[in-house]
Symmetry: C2
Subunit: 416 residues, 2 copies
């Protein structure tokens, strides 16, 4: 008698079992399904809002206002989810495409074809739109997906997945290709990370603790969406208005996101350093600085070594005076998280050096780091922002959910 399967094993094996069938569904079928899911969500606001109320009611007050804001839904937010699903339906389908075909001297016809990865697991936190965004993106790319959301949004997520399943039934898609893990403790997550026979890739999307947990426990290849310690470097010759606008935008416009700035580096000879820092203070940003900054603003707290490594995700910034673009580049490569970094400068050579040498997913000349985003880059919906170097770097769109296969047509060729 075979050993009984665990809850997680059963989910993983079901996902694998349907993955080969789901992988060859046509674009028309998949788009019809996505629009049907969008209809279900749009027609059932009440059902989603009711479930969401339960989550909001159960939320520990200690989690804070920002957390509550990420969790809480309203009609407008549900319609934004619906719009994202319809946008994904309207995007081109990468599956089956390719641009490498080669006929070899021996007559073999070899081509490289884009195909689904297979089974994708995603471990995320409280925002319920991730559930519908990721389900839509994985269905569009012919993958099976295992969703493991945070415990705080369990009722909302179950309601959304229920509606997705309703649409799948109507459209003759196997429900096992979108599965949701209802047991949200860390033990079950750790078990999920061991299912390397059935799961091809795991995507952790969330805070530092979650990412570390996944890196520590996963036997499955990981595409991580880690923190953003983003920098603005203001060069000696920089436009005063651009420097101030970009710095304020990168820090203040939405401080809770990964592409917001955490550190400001200013050239020692930049003539408007004081007014730039004052502009941050005027926006109620807490500033910690190195010795050079404290000379100008005696009341500020000094930045510690730890500060340069810190993602505040809040109205706080660390500021350092540097000797030039070389020191700025070295600081960013050492302390940054290789996410998004910007130079504000009018000097062509310094800009080119910065763009070449800063080792980050996105590097900017004279623009805010806040643009690192699939939508802003023109890629459509995104799984998240990958902070690793292999497979996909920066905004991860539909193509990031695919892999390739070499297909060879022969007529009896053998190797000499």
């Amino acid at each position: 008698m075979p050993a009984q399967k665990s809850y997680i094993e059963e989910i993983a094996q079901k996902a694998r079992a349907v993955s080969y069938e789901i992988s060859s569904r046509g674009t028309g079928e998949k788009n019809a399904l996505l629009n049907s899911i969008a209809d279900e969500l749009s027609e059932n606001h009440d059902l989603i809002l009711e479930a969401n109320k339960k989550d909001v009611f159960a939320l520990n007050a200690e989690k804070g206002k920002a957390f509550l804001d990420r969790l809480k839904l309203d009609d407008k937010r549900i319609e934004a989810m619906v719009t994202t699903i319809r946008d994904i339906a309207a995007q081109p389908d990468p599956i089956g495409s390719g641009n490498w075909i080669n006929k070899r001297p021996n007559g073999l016809k070899i081509m490289k074809i884009r195909i689904p990865i297979g089974v994708v697991a995603i471990i995320y936190e409280s925002r319920p739109n991730v559930t519908s965004d990721i389900a839509a993106m994985t269905l569009k790319t012919g993958n099976s997906v295992i969703l493991r959301g945070g415990k705080e949004s369990i009722h909302t997520n179950c309601a959304i997945v229920g509606l997705i399943h309703d649409a799948m039934k109507k459209n003759n898609f196997p429900e096992d290709s979108v599965q949701f893990i209802e047991k949200t403790d860390y033990e079950h997550a750790a078990e999920l990370l061991k299912q390397s026979n059935c799961i091809d890739v795991v995507i952790p999307r969330g805070g530092e603790k979650l990412i570390k947990f996944v890196e520590e426990h996963s036997k499955i290849p990981v595409i991580k969406h880690d923190k953003g310690i983003c920098h603005i470097y203001v060069d000696e010759i920089a436009d005063k208005v651009k420097a101030e606008n970009i710095t304020i935008n990168a820090k203040v416009q939405k401080p809770s996101v990964c592409n917001a700035a955490e550190t400001l580096l200013i050239h020692k000879k930049y003539p408007h350093a004081k007014s730039l820092i004052q502009a941050l203070l005027d926006k109620e940003v807490e500033v910690v600085g190195d010795a050079g900054v404290l000379q100008m603003f005696k009341a500020l707290k000094p930045a510690t070594e730890e500060d340069w490594f810190t993602e505040y995700l809040d109205l706080k910034i660390s500021v350092k005076m540097v000797d030039g673009v070389g020191e700025a580049i070295n600081h960013i490569n050492r302390y940054g998280s290789h996410h998004s970094d910007a130079i504000v400068s009018e000097c062509y050579d310094n800009i080119q050096l910065f763009l070449d040498r800063v080792d980050s997913a996105a590097v900017y000349a004279n623009a805010s780091t806040r643009f690192t985003d699939g939508g802003e880059f023109g890629l459509g919906a995104e799984v998240g922002i990958s902070t690793q170097k292999i497979h996909v770097r920066g905004p991860m769109g539909l193509e990031g959910l695919t892999t390739e296969k070499w297909v060879v047509y022969g007529d009896g060729q053998v190797r000499e």
Copy 2:
């Protein structure tokens, strides 16, 4: 006082330190270096052969003839290494290229540029040509590399790396961008796998034990080059000559390599099953089979469940009679290693189904699996054959040693 760095930490940190400088070297400079390395190797056969003699002399006789064959060099083999380096110099440089440029409505100019990964570590076994192949490929793509070869080829590898360093000195390249680990025990390898701050990717290339060790210990993203359990499926309507030629070629021509066949699946109604199996026996291949095979050949041993999972790398094959292409596909996806699998058939629909549904890096219609190789595919030199789905799948050429970066040119844009 800072803690003293270990041997491995020092190597990893040196590799990281030069990586940003090396990443922006021009194609002309890099090609000149490669040709200079080729010259050094070509002019110093004696030095390499003398070191190789020491390794051959020290080799434990228990390792066997195949192992000795992989280790032992002669003039012809050294010249083959030289030719590979010159071929890599002649290949196009992927660095700095791209095909995605987008001007956004807000005026941002966004482009995705191919860049070096940064620091690559490779852990491999006894074949000394891997040392020069990988050094040349990583230098061509602007990466720093840390080479950790097997202990059996230590003298040969040190001699080759010495010659590479001579050429680097002459060409004004920092020697730290090609480093070789002389301590070949597993403890130092395990320490290497922890240097995720300094190393961007690790590539294990070798036997099952090595791959498992790396997967178990690595805190660095892994691109594995694992075993090949490759299948030939002979369909009901298959050409007798093609079926025999392809099966014999895939099993017999070079049984010690990962793209050789390990399992033969034959449709129950294929009329020439008996003569196909006899052809293998005539080539002195040991055949183990399922009940259907044993009915035809009563003296053969039965294949165990374990056999279907086994990479023999030898003149041995497991054979199974199947009901049709569906059973063949399911068997391959369950027991295979997702490397290379072939169908021999004259039936268009079965071929398309097989090519679509078999989840392997390379799938073949009417050709031998032995073609899975960078050179045979027309890609030039290869790091190896990746058996994982993310980043690169199948033959890993120069592009597999690169990643991408988003470069954004603005004129003061901020996010609304």
